[in-house]
Symmetry: C2
């Protein structure tokens, strides 16, 4: 049975194991959302995913203000991984970060790494809130996984433990980057991308990056892009080139 998207539009991410007969403990926020916000009743259905067991139809068997019981009806989508694309960025001002994380999640990255750079304006992040933000974007975008959000990591540390087989594309507005036409055509996952803070990469950071064999600098045209625009623009190109965009949304029909 394929769920009809209109009738079954609530999707929730859970850490619980999903299998027929498994008891599922919803979080307090999820119960509140189902019962109070969406006013779901006994017998109403929604779907659950956990990043491991595919997507399941769940049916409410009891609903109280602070607790709900559900019954897992059946699996409607098998598990599938997102493309092996890592999204690295220098955190910007608060609201921009949450939007960038949601958009990167929609675009299908598997991992998000906030990177500490010299001209960055942020020296700590709200990792837990960002992870919730990614989960919400996964729910709404019909992903079957939630990207991992790592801790804020200094650029030098990140590069010192980098796996050489993962190409790192650097958004380089200095004029020294190659063109997208030169860089993109041959790229394949595993891949990663990195964009700088509002003030740009420091000269020393660009020099450091250029010294690694897995790094490719790319220019994004003659105009100066803001940091958040550059991040989503470069990710769009990489997701299109190295991702799974030969596929269509599963729950839509023309």
């Amino acid at each position: 049975m394929k769920p009809n998207r209109k009738a079954l539009h609530i999707r929730l991410y859970t850490t619980e194991a999903l299998a027929a007969g498994n008891p599922i403990l919803l979080t307090k926020d999820q119960v509140h959302y189902l019962a109070q916000v969406m006013r779901q009743k006994v017998g109403d259905q929604f779907t659950l995913f956990n990043g491991r067991d595919g997507e399941w139809i769940a049916e409410l068997t009891s609903v109280q203000k602070n607790h709900a019981d559900i019954h897992l009806v059946e699996q409607v989508r098998p598990q599938r991984a997102e493309p092996d694309i890592w999204f690295l960025f220098a955190p910007l001002k608060h609201q921009k970060n949450e939007r960038i994380i949601a958009q990167a999640t929609e675009l299908g990255v598997s991992k998000i790494i906030p990177v500490l750079m010299k001209h960055g304006i942020v020296d700590k992040i709200h990792q837990e809130r960002w992870q919730l933000c990614a989960a919400e974007a996964a729910e709404q975008s019909e992903r079957l996984t939630v990207p991992i959000i790592e801790e804020l990591t200094p650029l030098t540390l990140l590069l010192s433990k980098w796996d050489n087989t993962r190409t790192l594309i650097v958004a380089d507005e200095s004029g020294a980057g190659k063109t997208t036409a030169e860089i993109l055509g041959t790229l394949k996952a595993p891949i990663a991308m990195i964009t700088g803070p509002e003030g740009g990469f420091a000269q020393a950071e660009l020099a450091l990056l250029r010294g690694f064999p897995f790094v490719r600098g790319v220019g994004l045209g003659p105009r100066i892009l803001k940091a958040d625009t550059a991040a989503i623009t470069l990710l769009s190109l990489l997701a299109n080139q190295c991702g799974d965009w030969n596929l269509q949304p599963e729950f839509r029909s023309a």
Copy 2:
């Protein structure tokens, strides 16, 4: 003489003609910005562009609270047009629109057309404010033009007067769109793109669009993108494919 970007980082858009000896009337807001915000003094330099006469170095010859006189020193960049890419979108909630307009400007579109659609939530727009927003993004992104922002136009009217030689790419998440790999490779300017409102295109709108020979529907992968993400993602792909991204920023150096 090439201006050094650090020393000469103020760029202003003007509607005045730029030529040696021309008197230039700055707007009240521009005088305030130069004198009060940026604390510029007599002898300080910035640049001006008007979308027609290239970019000129201007030097302040007198600065008062409400008036400033300037002398045009010399042209530092000849006029250049942006790529012939039109960006059509269904207006979203207030703040999102201004961000989308700024980002589309950074990415180099020549025209922005807000489109009235059945599931849209907006039935009038702040055209003048949006035009200022585009001018500001042009100033900051080192464009030499400001994209034209048209009036809010009903989809049917827009299509009825469409020039057949301009391909219109529709972000079609229904599952009926072709893949980006099938659509993008052969595209050339003049081109346009359109994305729907948060509730998506209506079935009748998609059917209408598909009836025109200049329309190509494209899917953006298996995840459901939010309206603003879809707009900037599709534009990134088109700007990369049909734009001027073989060029680099002129005022940067590695």
